[in-house]
């Protein structure tokens, strides 16, 4: 099987975030890592490779620093990769990224399966995988928590609200966005780290891929959400307090 995993490098959420001019994050104080959800996708791909043979290819859009985490996936066992390293792509929206991923994947040719994380930890948009499926003209399934493959036939469990699973039959090639908990991602190994240094990582720009860098959305500004602390403690004996609470729910909050 030829499996592509789309991997995004994201800031470690425990970093000290500072916003510069409402536009971007001061990266000097930020540590970066593999998007956690993508890590599950890498593991899922490696398990499929171990079972069915083939190769695992990492495709990632990110600046120079992203190479470190692509090689981390190599150290886990992925075979080679493509890094779309282009400031214009980085400045673009999810559509620009999805389009670049599409062109890169089409360029590889003969891909049986594309795995993405269900969403990225930083923007939490959860749209790139779906857009990519549409652009590739492949069927897709989101929130995948279980995956069985036999030849081109797949049985996929999709996580729904309330702890339910939806079971789907699909056929490859397809795009699946992988939910956390589907597996336990392996650690890289020390020999893997050394081997990863020698694995092929092709650098591409949007123009190499023939992809557009025109966004479909407009960036307005970046800001920390304002947190309101407006809790009110209703005083008095239980009967009076209950009455006051009902009054507030009816007339102020208008929820009952």
């Amino acid at each position: 099987m030829k499996i592509v995993v789309c991997l995004k490098q994201v800031p470690d959420m425990e970093s000290n975030f500072k916003i510069i001019d409402g536009k971007s994050i001061d990266e000097s104080q930020v540590a970066f890592k593999i998007n956690d959800f993508d890590n599950y996708a890498v593991e899922a791909a490696l398990q499929l490779k171990e079972k069915n043979g083939g190769e695992v290819i990492i495709v990632s859009a990110g600046p120079d620093r992203a190479a470190k985490d692509i090689r981390q996936a190599f150290a886990m066992g992925a075979d080679w990769g493509i890094q779309i390293n282009d400031p214009a792509v980085q400045a673009g929206d999810n559509f620009v990224v999805a389009q670049c991923l599409q062109k890169a994947i089409q360029g590889i040719g003969g891909v049986d399966l594309v795995l993405t994380g269900v969403q990225a930890e930083d923007d939490q948009a959860a749209v790139t995988g779906v857009m990519l499926a549409e652009l590739l003209g492949m069927p897709h399934c989101t929130n995948v928590v279980k995956l069985d493959i036999s030849g081109a036939n797949m049985t996929v469990n999709r996580e729904l609200e309330g702890g339910l699973n939806e079971v789907l039959e699909m056929s490859a090639p397809a795009v699946l966005s992988i939910q956390s908990g589907i597996n336990e991602p392996r650690y890289p190994t020390l020999p893997g780290i050394m081997k990863a240094k020698k694995k092929q990582l092709d650098a591409k720009k949007a123009s190499d891929l023939g992809a557009s860098t025109d966004s479909k959305t407009e960036f307005v500004k970046m800001f920390f959400p304002v947190s309101d602390k407006k809790a009110e403690i209703i005083k008095g004996d239980p009967a009076t307090a209950a009455k006051a609470l009902i009054d507030k729910l009816k007339n102020e909050a208008k929820v009952i």
Binding site: D12, E14, N16, K18, Q29, Q72, Y187, P188, L190, K197
Partner: protein, 625 residues
């Protein structure tokens, strides 16, 4: 590199890459040509992740569960939480992180291996003793085994399929190894029948490894008494067939395990060899060379125990910081008369801050010392330059007892201080700091008690060492540091270390005279005080070195900011905070702890003879037995 509860990763990087400059080894030693800073970072980061994710909690839980011995089957069960954690260590390839690639190692510089091991042992000292002891045994096989031994044993020990021990101690042969009674009788096929009992054997039996390999010190029948008659044998728990598969049980039984105050997850075993007359061993190296062979492993083992001391101090200190930053208790001392004042976190209390800075200064100083020793042993192994090799050996020889004894004694004190920061809660088993304190004590005892280390330092490493070459190598390095510090570091800190060096010279000269005058009892009595003084001087030197490197870097980042602006900078810039904190701990050590050194030195110079004069009759009031 992230925030964690085990090791200040930033300080570890400071020691590795700003003091020792390990990243430059690739330019000097060809075996490290492939290893750049990025590779080192990846190895260290992976060690940190596995230590935090897999080992730490398993270690805490394992302390509560402990080890079990079944009197009927004679089998030992180690904590159930350990298996997956030790698996993660082996599967990632950390067993051979700095070993020769020829035996399946990664061939990293020793200091990077030590960096990885610092995370693992800070996460759990007792758990890491299983691969740790196995590693020492594996290197013995590598150095002294036959080709057949190497072919069969090394891959299985590297992968974690088989484990290993060191079998020295017997009921009547502890510090006095020469008194051992274990017997070896040569058989017609060249093997030896082993009979005897060994005690306090760490990892002696367990349910992790499929086979155990015991290097056993024993006396071949007819060989002379004392250490000169000792040989060393390779004794597996299960016999090994020519194809490497397991054969019959080799009559090595665990008669029981110790119930200890600490390292409860490490099985400390009494092993009976040949109770049924059926235990076979093979000679390692030559006959009657057992002590010499075992001593080759001592450096690594003592470095390892010194590291355990550092690790426990580190993990205790890291826990204490987090607790002190979160525990609200009492108002700030400047607000004691203000009835409206709110509680502050205890890190704001001057006495707690002092305790933390005392711990920080010790942990960071010990880290420099441990990594320097590791790097020095590394250079001694790999250099082709004879002069460099001799210098490295001289420095390593003297640093080993200072590092082992000094770090482990301080580890007991630092972990005790961690409990103190937690207050009453620290005394309760709900928090792990009491475990660190319990675990630390053994490090001052095993692998040569700290008394033995002090005597080794005083006699073999200094007074009996030709022209005091070891001592002069170390002090000349210290003097170089003083020279480099001048003009960079505030004069008073340089002057303190220089004065310390001059005073130590006086003490050593005096002791040389006492040695020539045959005052051996007096010198034995003063061995530990000398070791304590030298550890203090070594830490003061380490801090002066750190100050020399950190001061200009802090200046470049913080400039002349003062008061609230400086605080704001430290709050928002982790590098500014790190360098500033590193300078403060160094200044605190040299300015506030190191003055005690001069009292210790004075006591040595004063030659108080009360210990020599005291005898068993002057210790009164206790029961006869």
């Amino acid at each position: 590199m992230a925030l964690n509860q085990l090791v200040d990763s930033r300080d570890q990087r400071f020691v590795l890459f700003e003091l020792l400059e390990v990243q430059k080894m690739k330019d000097k030693y060809p075996q490290y040509a492939d290893f750049d800073r990025d590779t080192f970072e990846e190895f260290l980061n992976l060690a940190e992740r596995i230590a935090v994710d897999k080992i730490y909690q398993a270690g805490v839980d394992g302390d509560k569960e402990g080890c079990k011995h079944d009197g009927k089957t004679k089998k030992v069960t180690i904590p159930s939480t350990y298996k997956a954690a030790i698996d993660a260590y082996y599967e990632a390839g950390f067993m051979g992180v700095f070993d020769d690639p020829e035996i399946g190692g990664m061939g990293m510089p020793f200091a990077i291996g030590m960096g990885c091991n610092e995370f693992f042992s800070a996460a759990s000292v007792p758990m890491m003793m299983y691969p740790g002891l196995s590693h020492g045994c594996m290197l013995l096989v590598q150095s002294f085994g036959t080709d057949k031994h190497k072919e069969i044993y090394l891959p299985k020990m590297m992968s974690g399929e088989w484990g290993g021990t060191m079998c020295l101690t017997e009921p009547d042969a502890g510090s006095d190894v020469g008194a051992l009674k274990t017997k070896a009788v040569k058989q017609a096929d060249g093997t030896y029948k082993i009979t005897g009992q060994k005690i306090f054997i760490s990892s002696g039996d367990n349910d992790y490894y499929k086979n155990m390999v015991h290097p056993v010190l024993a006396r071949i029948e007819g060989d002379p008494a004392g250490t000169k008659g000792i040989s060393i044998f390779l004794v597996p728990k299960f016999r090994v067939k020519p194809d490497g598969s397991l054969g019959e049980f080799n009559d090595v039984e665990c008669a029981g395990i110790e119930h200890k105050m600490g390292i409860k997850g490490s099985a400390t075993c009494t092993l009976s060899f040949g109770d049924n007359g059926n235990c076979i061993g093979e000679l390692l190296g030559e006959e009657r060379k057992g002590m010499k062979i075992m001593f080759q492993m001592m450096n690594e083992a003592r470095l390892g125990v010194g590291l355990q001391g550092l690790c426990l101090a580190s993990v205790g200190y890291m826990h204490a910081i987090t607790y002190a930053k979160n525990r609200l208790q009492g108002v700030h001392v400047t607000q004691m008369l203000n009835p409206e004042a709110k509680s502050v976190t205890i890190i704001n209390h001057p006495d707690v801050k002092r305790m933390l800075l005392w711990m920080k200064a010790h942990v960071e100083g010990m880290r420099v010392l441990s990594y320097l020793l590791s790097n020095t042993l590394n250079i001694e192994h790999v250099t082709k330059d004879k002069a460099e090799e001799e210098k490295a050996l001289a420095l390593a020889e003297i640093l080993i007892p200072i590092c082992k004894a000094g770090n482990t004694d301080k580890s007991v004190e630092v972990t005790s201080e961690a409990v103190q920061v937690y207050g009453g809660y620290g005394f309760c088993a709900d928090y792990p700091v009491e475990m660190f304190m319990r675990d630390s004590k053994i490090t001052a005892i095993y692998e040569g008690t700290n008394g033995i280390q002090s005597m080794d330092l005083t006699f073999r490493k200094i007074l009996m060492n030709k022209d005091q070459a070891n001592y002069k190598t170390m002090t000349s390095l210290m003097k170089d540091t003083c020279a480099k510090a001048k003009g960079v570091v505030e004069d008073k800190y340089v002057a303190a270390v220089e004065k310390g060096l001059a005073k130590l010279d006086e003490v050593i000269e005096m002791m040389k005279g006492q040695m020539a005058g045959g005052k051996f009892l007096h010198l034995f009595m003063e061995a530990t005080p000398l070791q304590q003084a030298m550890h203090m001087l070594a830490l003061a030197w380490a801090h002066l070195w750190a100050l020399t490197v950190a001061t200009p870097k802090a200046k470049a980042i913080i400039g002349d900011l003062k008061g609230p602006e400086r605080e704001e900078k430290l709050k928002n810039d982790p590098e500014a905070a790190y360098y500033s904190g590193r300078i403060l701990s160094a200044q605190f050590y040299i300015g506030s702890v190191f003055p005690l050194y001069f009292g210790r030195i004075q006591s040595l110079m004063d030659n108080e003879t009360a210990v020599v004069k005291s005898s068993e009759y002057t210790f009164t009031g206790a029961l006869a037995e």
